[in-house]
């Protein structure tokens, strides 16, 4: 059993055993899938209803991934620091990189589980998707980019916000506000032009649009997020956030005074 496995085991168990984490990451998006599928779709023609429900389910899946990365990860880091576990681990022959990989893999597993549950509930509510195998493959890549971008932001919050509640609240706040402003929870077409620009730069929103475009269709995405430069921009910004978060975490969280 290596350091990565040990950290993975510990982190995933902590995620799965915290009721608040389960509620905000899985329960809350599922509630919105239910509300959205049955209340917000009353004016939608019956032939497109299942796709509208599909788009809602994708948005809520993205919201679940955002909460996992941007609130649960910093909460977990801050918790370990606040209760002295990070001090204890620093006194042991542990590599920060292995600790980081263990944490990220646990987050990936938890995010994956949350995403699957949200989509499964959406499917049960009548959501349907229309895609080829290649579309599905690309959608998975964009899901991974959402995970990477959220985890990067989460590491930044976890490094700089020292207290557990502060880290969680900052993460939840940023998730809700950025999801509302960038078109994850609001249709892209309804956003003012400034926010539409933001939605294209913010990798989580542009990846959300790309997944919707690939699995449901352009009219639900609001624009073509797969046009020449957009996917490159999405990938670059997501990776940049991740690298920034990683450097900050390994430099500052593990810094010896």
């Amino acid at each position: 059993m290596g350091q990565i496995t040990a950290t993975w085991n510990k982190t995933i168990k902590e995620f799965l055993r915290q009721k608040t984490v389960l509620f905000w990451t899985i329960g809350w998006p599922i509630i919105w899938v239910l509300i959205g599928s049955f209340s917000f779709t009353s004016n939608v023609p019956s032939e497109t209803l299942s796709y509208a429900r599909g788009a809602i389910s994708i948005s809520m899946m993205v919201f679940a991934l955002m909460t996992a990365g941007m609130a649960n990860l910093p909460g977990n880091i801050a918790q370990d620091r606040e209760r002295g576990l990070l001090t204890k681990v620093m006194s042991m022959p542990v590599s920060p990189w292995r600790d980081f990989i263990g944490r990220i893999l646990a987050l990936l597993a938890f995010s994956g589980l949350s995403a699957m549950l949200v989509i499964a509930v959406g499917f049960a509510c009548g959501a349907r998707f229309f895609f080829t195998e290649i579309d599905f493959g690309f959608a998975l890549v964009f899901i991974l980019l959402i995970f990477v971008g959220s985890a990067g932001i989460g590491m930044l919050i976890g490094t700089f916000v020292k207290h557990v509640h502060g880290a969680i609240m900052s993460g939840v706040g940023l998730t809700v506000v950025s999801a509302a402003l960038s078109g994850v929870m609001t249709p892209y077409a309804y956003l003012p032009s400034v926010l539409q620009d933001f939605a294209r730069i913010y990798p989580i929103s542009s990846a959300n649009s790309a997944i919707t475009y690939l699995l449901v269709g352009e009219e639900y995405a609001g624009y073509n997020p797969l046009s020449t430069s957009q996917p490159v921009l999405t990938a670059l910004v997501a990776l940049l956030l991740f690298v920034l978060g990683l450097i900050t975490y390994s430099r500052f969280c593990w810094k010896k005074e």
């Binding site: 059993m1 950290t7 085991n9 510990k10 209760r83 002295g84 006194s91």
Partner: protein
Amino acid sequence: MKFNQICCYYNLLFERVKSIQTFAVLAEKVTKEYGKKEVLKEVNLKISKGEFYALMGPNGSGKTTLASILASVKLPTSGKIQIFGKKPEDAKKITGYVPQENFSSPLLTGKENLMYFAGLLGYSKREAAEIVEGLLNKVGLWEDANKRVSHYSGGMRKRLEVATILFPSLKLLILDEPTTGLDPSARRKFLGLVQELRNEETTILLVTHIGADADLASRVGLMDKGAIIAEDQPERLKKSSGLENVVNIETSIKNEKVANLLSKFSEKMKVLETETGYRVFTEDVEEATPKIVRSLDQIGCKAIRIETAKPSLEDVFFKLTERKVREVD
């Protein structure tokens, strides 16, 4: 002449190597500064292999900083440190550190917590399971091994955390204020466990502000304002302080007038205020006690309880610094 010089040189070198090998902890002129604040002032510390050393001092005296430097969690500003002849950074595999905080995860069971630390130390799953079983037995938590730590009492949690430094590869155990917050029964149980850890191979450094805990050590260093102000065996420290007898008085009133009156009977040092009364340091207890009761009575203060005791390490610290080790006695 030249031959003699060479012999002398090799002798010195041999002595140096020997001293490095014998000492589990060797700290020379260690300083630590946070901005302009000097937390450690050229601290020298030598702890022999197999020794049980207690570092005692009030909050803010620098003992936790020193312990965390030895545990390679913090860096010194200057000075030299060796743990079994190695730099602290290179001695992590043989150093076990229990910080002040309750670092175990309340969401995991006791067994899962220990399995996590076994994994961090690089044990295989099978090896880890065997060792963890032994450790849980050793700290008396086998029956509660599968309970979540959130259901543990403070004492159980501390014993679990001590188990994280009992893995076989660890030779230097650093415990930072492990008994703080424990009730008397849990504290006694915990100290019993620490006593059991003493052997020729294991060196223990206990950081504490409780005299009774430090009393268990083979040697005690009293720390104040970033420096070790006295260091010896507990009994010798008490003897060398010149304190012989202490009268513990529980009084009905506590004020300056009572303290001033009692200070006339405390020939050896200043009267020490406690939670319920005062500690008076006198040579002849039998002669002084009735006089104290009478005098207190004359100023309208009742002596509710009087008992004689031997001086504690906290008294020694008070004598040296005129400051209490802890606020509540």
